[in-house]
Symmetry: C2
Subunit: 234 residues, 2 copies
């Protein structure tokens, strides 16, 4: 039986073997929600990079620049880390270079995998169907917040695990914990996440609309994956 | 207000600042349960060491040797990692040198703290009272399993956090997650933990009695702490 594991923080990646497996990277607030929303809305491709300077170099080559650090839009970049701005019709057909506090780093550290796909509540069922249709084991890599475990990424991982119950087995307690959490919180994700550290952080920045949007389930049916040239495409 | 944090694996310790705080180390199956049971039953002091050879050197000085790796009693040591054997009246007044797969390593990596105390379900309320009576913030450090998050240590952390609700605040999502998990699983810890990876591992070793014992709540009222000479005492 295929095996499902959940790595609750990129810092825990050394304890997970990614070779031959599909990695689902998740950063609900907001990097992977942006990627799903953008590519589903016509963005041609998204290049995730770890450093601001790498993104700036790509902007010099004509990429749209998306830069975020600590929740803030970095000066000099076209957009920050709002999924709504990724959906701007002006960016249809464009290439975006993106760098964020947590999400792009999680992708960077998952390169050993057979395939890296991007998950969010926005494309939950599409990701589940993709994994169910493949013969490979899977690891959900939660981006967390600066290395710590966060609630929203854990809840997404639990939601995905529940959808895969029956087609995947597991020997990873993180799967049991995340599934149980999602089962108990799914009725009102927004209310539960109001207590979370990241909600408080984002609310201080005045971006509550983004939070609601990122918690919409199955708005899109795309499964972005990292192509050999380092771009996310659908 | 005092702050409570939960570090779900020793691998995540670089993201937690321990200086000036009280660390509660927990390894329910079974290191910290052994320490609590042994010290509450008359063992004079317990010296946790990371390496088998360190423990052997202390045995040469007259310590009782407790050695466990991967759930197994290491050959040449008096006892393994069963709380029941730590309670043997023969060891009253004795010094024990102990080394285990996860628990003793978690203590080793928490040395930056103001104080290290040992927590288990066996002394849950005593630990909560100790923390409530101190002016310091606290971090629960879960030993996990070889760096991965495990269910039983997370549940203990959640139980402790629930007891401290009101006297401690938090900005750590791990506290929210662990509290919620414990709230939902506390009615029958044993049944929930039967699905966990460590239960499966220990059951294969035929030590179900230990599991039941380690899930007894408040059997003892002691709070072992690490003294300056490197011994756990009460």
């Amino acid at each position: 039986m295929k095996n499902l594991e959940i790595c609750l923080s990129p810092t825990l990646l050394p304890h997970y073997q990614l070779e031959g497996k599909i990695v689902v990277v998740v950063d609900i607030f907001r990097a992977t929600s942006c990627m799903v929303a953008g590519l589903a809305s016509g963005v041609r491709r998204i290049r995730p990079v770890a450093a601001l300077d790498e993104a700036r170099a790509l902007m010099a080559q004509g990429y749209i620049g998306a830069g975020e650090r600590d929740g803030h839009h970095v000066e000099g970049f076209h957009i920050g880390n709002s999924p709504l701005s990724y959906m701007d019709p002006a960016y249809r057909g464009c290439s975006i270079a993106t760098t964020t506090t947590n999400g792009t780093q999680a992708i960077e550290h998952s390169r050993a995998a057979r395939q890296i796909v991007v998950g969010a509540f926005l494309n939950l069922s599409a990701v589940a169907q993709h994994l169910a249709a493949q013969p490979h084991s899977a690891v959900v890599v939660c981006a967390g917040w600066k290395g710590r475990v966060n609630l929203e990424d854990t809840l997404f991982a639990g939601a995905l695990a529940r959808k895969l119950d029956g087609t995947f087995g597991t020997d990873d307690d993180s799967v049991l914990a995340a599934q149980e959490l999602y089962a108990n919180m799914q009725e009102d994700l927004f209310v539960h996440l109001q207590k979370s550290s990241h909600y408080q952080r984002l609310t201080r920045l005045g971006i509550k609309d983004d939070i609601h949007f990122c918690l919409e389930i199955d708005r899109f049916a795309v499964v972005p994956h990292l192509a050999a040239d380092g771009h996310l495409v659908i």
